[in-house]
C-alpha cells in the first residue's frame, strides 16, 4: 500500500503536464487565435501604417514616431493574450467529462486542480505573444527600449492573460458549462475596442475617450506602447503593469472563491 501522495507543487506540475499533453493532441485549436492576432497586425499596419507612419512626421498625428507597427503591435499582443481564456474551457471539459470527479476521489489538492489550467492558459499566452512579437519584429517593429522591451511587453501580456484565465475559470466553474467559460472570450471585444486601439486617447471622440478611461485595457496598451515607442517611461509602464497585475489578482481571487464553492461536497 502506497501511503504518500505527491506534494503540492509536484501535483501542479503533473496536472499541468497532462493539460499540455492534451493541448498537443489538438494543436489546430490554437490556430484561430494566432491567426486573428497576426491578421490584426498585418491588416492594421497595412491600412493605417501609411497615414500614421513616417508620413505623419511633423503633424499632430505623429504618435507612432515614424513606425506605426510599434504602435499597433500591442493591440495584437493584447488580442493574443485573450487566449488565456481557454483555461476555463479546459477546466469545464474536465468537469463535464467527469475527470474532475476522479481527481476529487484522490488525495489531490483542489488548488492544484484549479491552478493547472490557469498555468496552461498563461503558457499559451506566452507562446502566442512570442509568436506575434517575432512576426512583428520580422516586419519591422523596433522597440525604443531595445530587445529588453520585448520581454517587458511579454511580462505585461502574461499578467493580462492570467487575468483572462482567472476570469474564464471563474465563469466556467460558476456556470458549469463550456459556454460560460467561452463567455470570457466575448469580454474581449468591448475590452479591446473601447480603448485607444487605433489612435491615442486624446484623438478619441468624447464618449469613447470616457469609456477608454475606465477600461483597464487602455492602460495596458499605453504601457506597452510606452515601451515600444517612448523608451523606459516609468509612470506609464508601471501603470500598465499595475493594471494588468491588478486584473490578474482580482480574477484569480474570483476564480479561487468560485472554485471553493464548486469543490464543496453537496
Amino acid at each position: 500500500m502506497n501511503n504518500s501522495n505527491a506534494p503540492f507543487l509536484l501535483q501542479l506540475g503533473i496536472l499541468t503536464k497532462r493539460l499540455l499533453l492534451r493541448l498537443s493532441r489538438r494543436p489546430l485549436a490554437e490556430l484561430p487565435n494566432i491567426f486573428i492576432s497576426a491578421f490584426f497586425l498585418l491588416v492594421y499596419d497595412g491600412a493605417l501604417g501609411g497615414v500614421f507612419g513616417g508620413s505623419a512626421a511633423g503633424t499632430p498625428f505623429d504618435f507612432a514616431k515614424g513606425n506605426f507597427l510599434n504602435f499597433i503591435l500591442p493591440v495584437s499582443i493584447v488580442s493574443a493574450s485573450v487566449s488565456g481564456g481557454a483555461s476555463g474551457i479546459y477546466l469545464v471539459e474536465d468537469i463535464e467529462s467527469g475527470v474532475f470527479k476522479r481527481y476529487q476521489g484522490m488525495p489531490i489538492s483542489k488548488w492544484a486542480i484549479i491552478l493547472a489550467p490557469i498555468v496552461v492558459g498563461a503558457v499559451r499566452v506566452l507562446l502566442q505573444a512570442t509568436l506575434i512579437m517575432t512576426l512583428g519584429n520580422l516586419i519591422g517593429a523596433d522597440p525604443a527600449t531595445g530587445i529588453w522591451g520585448y520581454f517587458a511587453v511579454l511580462g505585461m501580456a502574461f499578467f493580462w492573460g492570467m487575468g483572462f484565465a482567472g476570469y474564464s475559470v471563474a465563469a466556467g466553474v460558476r456556470s458549469g458549462s463550456s459556454q460560460g467559460a467561452q463567455a470570457a472570450t466575448f469580454l474581449f471585444f468591448p475590452a479591446l475596442f473601447l480603448a485607444p486601439t487605433f489612435t491615442p486617447r486624446y484623438a478619441l471622440k468624447g464618449w469613447l475617450e470616457t469609456a477608454a478611461a475606465y477600461n483597464p485595457t487602455t492602460y495596458v496598451l499605453e504601457g506597452m506602447r510606452a515601451i515600444m515607442i517612448e523608451g523606459w517611461v516609468s509612470d506609464l509602464i508601471l501603470k500598465g503593469f499595475l493594471v494588468a497585475g491588478g486584473f490578474a489578482f482580482i480574477t484569480l481571487t474570483f476564480a479561487v472563491l468560485s472554485a471553493r464553492r464548486a469543490t464543496e461536497k453537496s
Binding site: N2, R25, V99, K101, R102
Partner: protein, 322 residues
C-alpha cells in the same frame, strides 16, 4: 473491524422541485476480503450510497466507516485506502492508456521510475498492453471499463468500490471483467460492487444487499437469500393470460406474469400432482410445469413485489463512446 460499515446512511438532495430522498436508510457491514454486492433497480440509491462511502458526497445523517475511519471526518485518510470506479466517471479521451496510468501513479506519489513500472504492471493486469499507446478515444466500451478498473487500482487500495462495472457491456466483455474482479478478491482486496444484474450478483458476490427505493429490503449470501424463500418455485405455463389468471384463484400464494404462474411451496415435486389435478378439474390446460430451487430473481420479486430483470433491460444504457 469491518472493511466497510454503513450505518443508517441517509441522503436527501435539496432541489428546486423539492427534496429528493435518494437514500433513506441503508446499513450493512462488509468483511475484509469479501465481494459485497449491492443489487437494485435504476434509481434505487446505489450510486448515492457509493458516493457517500467514497467521501465524494456528504451524508445527510448516519455514518460510513472504512476500516474504522469515518468517511466524513477522515476523508483524506479514507481516500488513500480506497479505489473508486464510478458509474459515470469520464476518462481523458485525448491521452493514451499508458499516459493515464503513468499520470495517475505520479499523482499517487510514485517516483518516475516506480510509476513507469506500475504502469506496465497495470496495463498487463487489465489486458491493455497492446493498446497502451493508443488514445483512449479509440478504445471499445469494454476496454474503457477495464482501464477504469485499472486506474482505480494503481495505488493498491485495500477496499475497492465498483459502481455498475459491467452495465452496457456484452456478455463476453462482462465475463472478462468478472474474472478480473474475482482475481482481485484472491489478492485480498475487499470489493463493494453495485449491479442491476441478478446474474452478476449471484456469480460474484459473497454477500448481497438488495436495495429498493433507498431502503435495504434483504441481505445475505446468495444461498441464504434463496433459501429464505423456503421450498421450491413451481412454474406453470398456460395457453393464455386468462387461464393463468383463473389458476391464480385456485393456487394459494401465487404470482402471475403473462401466461406463467409461479408459486413457492415446500417440496415442489410432491405437490405438483395435487396441483395439476386441481387445475384440470377446473378445465385449465397446463402447457408445462417445472419445479426449481428459487433464484435471486424470485427473491427479488418476493422482497420488492416486482421483477428486476425487465426493469433493468429496458432502461439499460449503452456506454457512451465519445
Amino acid at each position: 473491524m469491518f472493511a466497510v460499515e454503513a450505518k443508517n446512511l441517509k441522503k436527501t438532495f435539496k432541489t428546486k422541485q423539492g427534496d429528493v430522498e435518494a437514500v433513506k436508510d441503508v446499513s450493512f457491514q462488509v468483511n475484509n476480503g469479501e465481494i459485497f454486492g449491492i443489487l437494485g433497480p435504476n434509481g434505487a440509491g446505489k450510486s448515492t450510497t457509493i458516493l457517500m462511502l467514497t467521501t465524494l458526497l456528504r451524508v445527510t445523517s448516519g455514518n460510513g466507516k472504512i476500516q474504522g475511519l469515518d468517511v466524513g471526518q477522515d476523508d483524506s485518510e479514507v481516500r488513500k485506502k480506497i479505489g473508486i470506479a464510478l458509474q459515470d466517471t469520464g476518462i481523458d479521451n485525448l491521452l493514451t492508456g499508458r499516459e493515464l496510468f503513468f499520470t495517475t501513479a505520479r499523482l499517487w506519489g510514485f517516483s518516475k521510475s516506480d510509476a513507469k513500472k506500475r504502469t506496465l504492471e497495470m496495463l498487463d493486469l487489465v489486458g491493455l498492453t497492446e493498446a497502451a499507446d493508443r488514445r483512449v478515444k479509440t478504445y471499445s466500451g469494454g476496454m474503457k471499463r477495464r482501464l477504469d478498473l485499472g486506474l482505480s487500482l494503481v495505488h493498491k487500495p485495500e477496499v475497492l468500490f465498483l459502481d455498475e462495472p459491467t452495465t452496457g457491456l456484452d456478455p463476453g466483455s462482462r465475463r472478462v471483467l468478472w474474472e478480473e474482479i474475482k482475481r482481485l478478491r484472491e489478492d485480498g482486496v475487499t470489493i463493494i460492487l453495485t449491479t442491476q444484474y441478478l446474474e452478476e450478483a449471484d456469480e460474484l458476490a459473497d454477500r448481497i444487499s438488495i436495495i429498493d427505493n433507498g431502503l435495504v429490503v434483504a441481505e445475505g449470501t446468495p444461498d441464504e437469500l434463496k433459501t429464505s424463500i423456503g421450498g421450491d418455485v413451481i412454474t406453470f405455463i398456460f395457453h393464455s393470460y386468462e387461464d393463468a389468471k383463473k389458476a391464480k384463484g385456485l393456487v394459494s400464494n401465487s404470482e402471475i406474469e403473462n401466461n406463467e404462474l409461479r408459486t413457492t411451496v415446500e417440496n415442489g415435486a410432491e405437490r405438483i400432482p395435487d396441483l395439476l389435478n386441481k387445475l384440470s378439474e377446473n378445465e385449465l390446460e397446463v402447457v408445462s410445469v417445472s419445479a426449481n430451487k428459487p433464484s435471486l430473481d424470485d427473491v427479488f420479486l418476493q422482497v420488492t413485489g416486482y421483477r428486476l430483470e425487465g426493469a433493468a433491460d429496458t432502461e439499460e444504457e449503452l456506454i457512451e463512446n465519445e
